[in-house]
Symmetry: C2
Subunit: 366 residues, 2 copies
């Protein structure tokens, strides 16, 4: 019997509700037995942690996260904490976890669930069968570079600075993740940057080109300007297989791509650290692409699928349980085929359900 | 008789061909008389200037641009100059003009020409009647902040840095442009930044909020995170009237929005400086949103409408000729209604024409 240690961090807003459905699935697997079991611990993060402890994540929580096999994360933030000091704002909890666990590789699949092709803003033929993997660098760039500050000037005005910073090592390791993934998929990588304007873009392009050498000729590499990439994701998203990009462009492009699929409330993500040289183990955090949706929080209306699918990714990447991960993916496809829909993906002729009904239906399919 | 001094900078690729059509229109207005005349001068910029002078723009050209009533710009760049040194790459010419003329306000209309609503990737009902104005800060941010460099590290690797920098003054002046424009339009401004991650975002939000006070309550202000804005431009672009954002987000979001309209080859832009306190005159550069399109350059296939519409914006904003600007806009709408299309916007049942046929047809409608 292998025991997997999970840290559940529901966070704020709908994160609380969607995590409850993940717990239901964990209970199901634990009851089933079958060679694997889960030990879970929960903690506060984001606004909830700020309210309780005055910080968006505690040192103890970070330590538990490091020791866990996987962290399952809900969502953070909400209007209640709009005036929290910058260093204690809800997002700071998530950013600290990413940085302290060195989760440099953020994998964001943008897939179009066939049952939802009509829910996309894009024409059906442009998104049907869409399956992109966005590989976003997550611990560098303008998110963490120093100086990062606001100073008051002599004229009474202020000057704010953020620093976009990348090293060869940081770029090479994320490029490897992208090329390795492409090998298991469509063998094509687009690397998005602004080398025509940014020195980090120049280095990015250079290092990705260099890293590509050991993957050529079987993996194709295309360089694309980030602005053009934003265009092409609307014009013809199916031209992409894997997109690798920096932290800030990845933030914007992955949200755009997720929306284009029509499946935003459905999309999971994985944030992975480097594999330990001896044990092969890597720290990891799994979270839905969507946010805390304060407008519908607490009403039992949230779509739990993205968080459940994130748990599925944890099974696949952190627990060696790809069979069970497939079960989850199939169960999700199954309930959609049965016509069940939460409000966010409701379509004419379908059956509208709430968070817990959706979760229960998925468990039933397992 | 008012004489307007224009500097024409066709640049590279299709810029050469589309500028020829602008010259045709200038000749038409000059022949017509009617209180206004144009004096034009042309110069090299981008790759063409690099080939001739070893720099992407000469000091003399910058001086002429400063003295002109308006600069009409084509496009720069192409594979031929992919290996030009960073400081001399074609884009450097454009960036220097923006900076040296202090063209801080980049106005990028994203409108859907009714005749082209079906050409959009987005569903027709989402783009029909779409009319957004993106106001992009153009002389600050990560484009120009120092340090901007690549240094070699002790381990032989490299470290690249770009600096995202904004001051109260820079943000306040672009916010004013956005609010003033909103007053003449739909009275709604969305300000896009990442205040949850960037200190420049924190200051941006603060200064825009402060600047808004003199425009409230008639102009609505909404703060939106840039990643969410990228989503919403796909989900429901018609919710936007004016979007104000920084240089880098503006680059990405305006390309995305332009593509969503289905009218990419059609969209002009204006880059404006501050009005002189005494004369009210402001330096200005007008350019199409599209690039130099090396793949179709020199073939007579390019769509000249975006460059012609940019000239139309010059008439409106720099020459006090809004009547003639309306004439141009109507002529463009007219040829589209007649079914004329260049290859980029070709649709079933329409008549495919080349660059010069399109230009000639527009002149005929004037
Ligand atoms: C919540 C926020 C800090 C975060 C980010 O900007 O990375 C979010 O937008 C995301 O994409 O995970
Ligand atoms: C050509 C390039 C330097 C430019 C930019 O990044 O600003 C272009 O993409 C634009 O949007 O005008």
């Amino acid at each position: 019997m292998t025991t997997h240690k999970l840290l559940l961090l529901p966070g704020d807003g709908i994160g609380l509700e969607t995590m409850t459905e993940v717990e239901r699935i964990i209970a199901f697997f634990n009851a089933q037995g079958g060679g694997h079991s889960f030990e879970t611990e929960s903690d506060l993060v984001g606004g909830a942690a700020y309210d309780a402890h005055g910080v968006a994540v505690t040192d103890a929580c970070v330590a538990t996260a490091k020791a866990a096999d996987a962290v399952i994360f809900g969502a953070v933030g909400g209007p209640k904490w709009a005036d929290a000091p910058y260093a204690q704002r809800p997002e700071a909890g998530l950013l600290r976890l990413r940085k302290d666990l060195d989760l440099f590789a953020n994998l964001r699949p943008a897939i179009c669930y066939p049952a939802l092709a009509d829910a996309s803003s894009l024409k059906r033929e442009l998104v049907e069968g869409l399956d992109i993997m966005i590989v976003r660098e997550l611990t560098g760039g303008v998110y963490f570079g120093e100086p990062k500050e606001i100073v008051t000037l002599e004229d009474g005005g202020k000057r704010a600075v953020d620093t976009q910073l990348y090293t060869t090592r940081e770029i090479a390791r994320i490029a490897k993740v992208a090329f390795d993934l492409a090998r298991k998929r469509g063998n094509k990588v687009h690397s998005a940057e602004k080398h025509n304007v940014m020195k980090t873009g120049v280095l990015w392009k250079e290092v990705v080109t260099e890293t590509h050498k050991t993957y050529a000729p079987d993996v194709e590499l295309h360089h694309i300007l980030a602005d053009n990439c934003a265009m092409q994701l609307v014009r013809n998203p199916k031209q992409f297989d894997v997109i690798v990009t920096d932290n800030l462009f990845g933030d914007v492009l992955s949200d755009e791509a997720a929306m284009a699929t029509g499946s935003l409330g459905m999309l999971p993500s994985a944030s992975l650290g480097a594999a330990d040289e001896k044990t092969g183990k890597r720290m990891a955090l799994y979270e839905p692409v969507h946010g805390s949706a304060p407008d519908i929080a607490g009403k039992g209306l949230a779509n739990p699928i993205a968080t459940i699918a994130s748990f599925g990714m944890a099974l696949r990447y952190s627990c060696g349980m790809s069979e069970q991960a497939d079960l989850i993916d199939n169960a999700i496809a199954g309930v959609l085929a049965d016509g069940l829909r939460t409000g966010d993906i409701m379509q004419p002729g379908m059956t509208e359900v709430g968070t817990s009904e959706m979760g229960a239906a998925i468990v039933k399919k397992l």
